[in-house]
Amino acid sequence: MSPILQAENLSVRFPAGREGWFGPKREVQAVSNVDLSLFAGETLALVGESGSGKTTFARALLGLVGHSGGTMRFDGADIAAMNRTARQAMRRTVQMVFQDPFGSLDPRLTVASIIAEPLRIHNIGSAATRRERVRALLVQVGLPPDAASRYPHQFSGGQRQRIAIARALAPAPRIIIADEPLSALDVSIQSQILNLMAELRDRAGLSYLLISHDLAAVHHLADRVAAMYLGRVVEVAPRDALFDTPAHPYTRALLDAVPRIGAGKRVPGGALQGDIPSPLAPPPGCAFHPRCPRASSVCAVEAPVLRVLAGAHQAACHHPLEIAA
């Protein structure tokens, strides 16, 4: 099976000004040499702390930020080499749901205009068929059809996220990139949106790229999970393999950091110390080594590359934890 969306060696750098007036130009390496593939019908979750480059990676895939290295392929075709028509067709197929449902809906537009916007941009249907489509989509995401004539501020956070999902569904996409779709919502609403996303995926055969630091949500929705740290993918594995036997100490620490109700003693030393280092000056060698309990002298010198440990389980670590084969 070939992937529908693929990043090969993708890097994104941002200029970060100069040090002083005459100092050297600085750069932030937000995404470094990421190789990831999304297959048809699967849900790939991207986890990691804030600042690990998850959102930038997603935005690069959508062309919202320019990439400075590597290639992105859609259905095997290099996105950079696409003409306008092919690119617009791709944009129809790849839709995005944003984190903040209060910021992702234009407050000046009615819900109908918001949901119909992708259709209008891509010139799909007539005004009448678009109106019908909006009503159908509202029902599909669990909102009353008469929501169409109202404005975003008249809805709660959960309802707004449903509107954002309806907008993403409007042009009948194959891929939805969801950037922290739950983190701005109340806990009680999160599971509703999560179930809606699962239901839509099963019904429409969507692929999701789910960006989240909510590991419970990831466990619920994802087929495969990729962990990112400081712009690099440190581990990719099928969901159960990653949750049961993470190979990278960073993934282990992320999993250990999840508070559990009624759980016994925490694994000693499991919690991560300190903050994610500044991407302006990433540590040499393995970027994780200053915080890593298993770091040795080689970690400070040589950056580990992603290698296959067993089957589909890959990790970038000199001293991976033992995994079930």
Binding site: L64, Q88, M96, G103, R108, E117, I121, S149, Y151
Partner: protein
């Protein structure tokens, strides 16, 4: 949240409903309409009363208010009321057109500058700084001295009174857009990072779409306020321009020029200054009320539900 919002109600209809609820805005609009209509009916009043706001009558200088001269006559014996009406034609048109023109140009330049950033932004903003730094008086004198026939306008147009109007509107637009441009640029910079703009860009929406549908409508609120305030300023600026010989030339008049004429008579005939001043004040307040109402009408969040 109202449960029975009709779906077919158009956005413009909703805006009209919101405006209709705002009594101050309606009063402002009514007052403005009244002033405009009254100004347009200056010839009717003159014919009916047998007075003139244009021709001098040196035998009736500084007449007090009578049944014939409703507000008396000025230092050249012209009927003050008729003159106020005639001045209103000029002042209101120029105030509204000039302020609108400056705001439209400013919004265009500011939003383009803030949205494209980088080199476009640098060029446009340095140009804005340049316009702000220009000494206005020499520019005005140059613009006044421009021979319009050389720019391809017919000589009838130039001799007609409207050439003076348009010259002022163009000058006010050219010199007045900078403030709005900076205002809109600042809002655009913030809006361009908002997720609803990213959502449209991720669809491959062209720049004009993003600017026209998402950015300008969300940045327009302070512009409306700035425009209404600018109208008062333009009405006053016009008198200065006319004094320099750029704009309205006698016998035509405006509130601004009536005001500056009355300056030297302020002790002997204060009413000559008070009437046009009062009308400027009233129209600026009316426009401000209307502007406030429009601003609220365009913002769905102002609904009291």
């Amino acid at each position: 949240m109202s449960a029975h919002a009709e779906e077919s109600v158009s956005v413009w209809h909703l805006r009209w409903l919101r405006l209709k609820r705002d009594r101050a805005a309606l009063a402002g609009a009514g007052l403005l309409a009244l002033l405009l209509m009254a100004s347009e009916s200056a010839p009717i009043y003159e014919a009916w009363q047998g007075v003139s706001g244009v021709d001098a009558d040196l035998l009736s200088r500084f007449d007090p208010a009578t049944a014939q001269h409703w507000l008396g006559s000025d230092d050249a014996g012209r009927d003050v009321f008729a003159r106020l009406l005639r001045g209103g034609q000029t002042s209101l048109t120029i105030g509204i057109m000039g302020a609108l023109g400056a705001s439209i140009v400013g919004t265009l330049i500011g939003s383009i500058s803030g949205y494209f950033r980088g080199r476009v932004d640098m060029v446009l903003m340095r140009f804005t700084d340049f316009m702000i730094a220009l000494p206005q008086l020499p520019i005005l004198i140059i613009l006044a001295a421009l021979d319009l026939t050389k720019l391809g306008f017919s000589s009838e147009f130039i001799r007609s009174g409207s050439a003076g109007y348009w010259r002022i509107v163009v000058i006010v637009t050219l010199l007045g857009w900078t403030g709005v441009a900076r205002l809109v640029r600042a809002s655009t910079l913030a809006l361009a990072e908002r997720e609803f703009v990213l959502a449209a860009r991720a669809q491959g929406a062209p720049a004009w779409w993003v600017l026209g549908i998402h950015i300008v409508p969300n940045a327009i609120t302070p512009v409306i306020v700035a425009t209404t305030i600018a109208m008062g300023r333009v009405i006053l600026a016009e008198s200065g321009l006319s004094f320099l010989g750029v704009g309205i030339q006698p016998p035509a008049t405006s509130w601004g020029s009536m005001l500056s004429n009355a300056q030297e008579l302020i002790t002997s005939a204060p009413m000559l200054a008070i009437w046009p001043g009062l009308l400027i004040l009233v129209s600026v307040v009316a426009i401000n009320f209307l502007g406030d109402g429009l601003q609220a009408a365009f913002d769905p969040r102002s609904d009291p539900r």
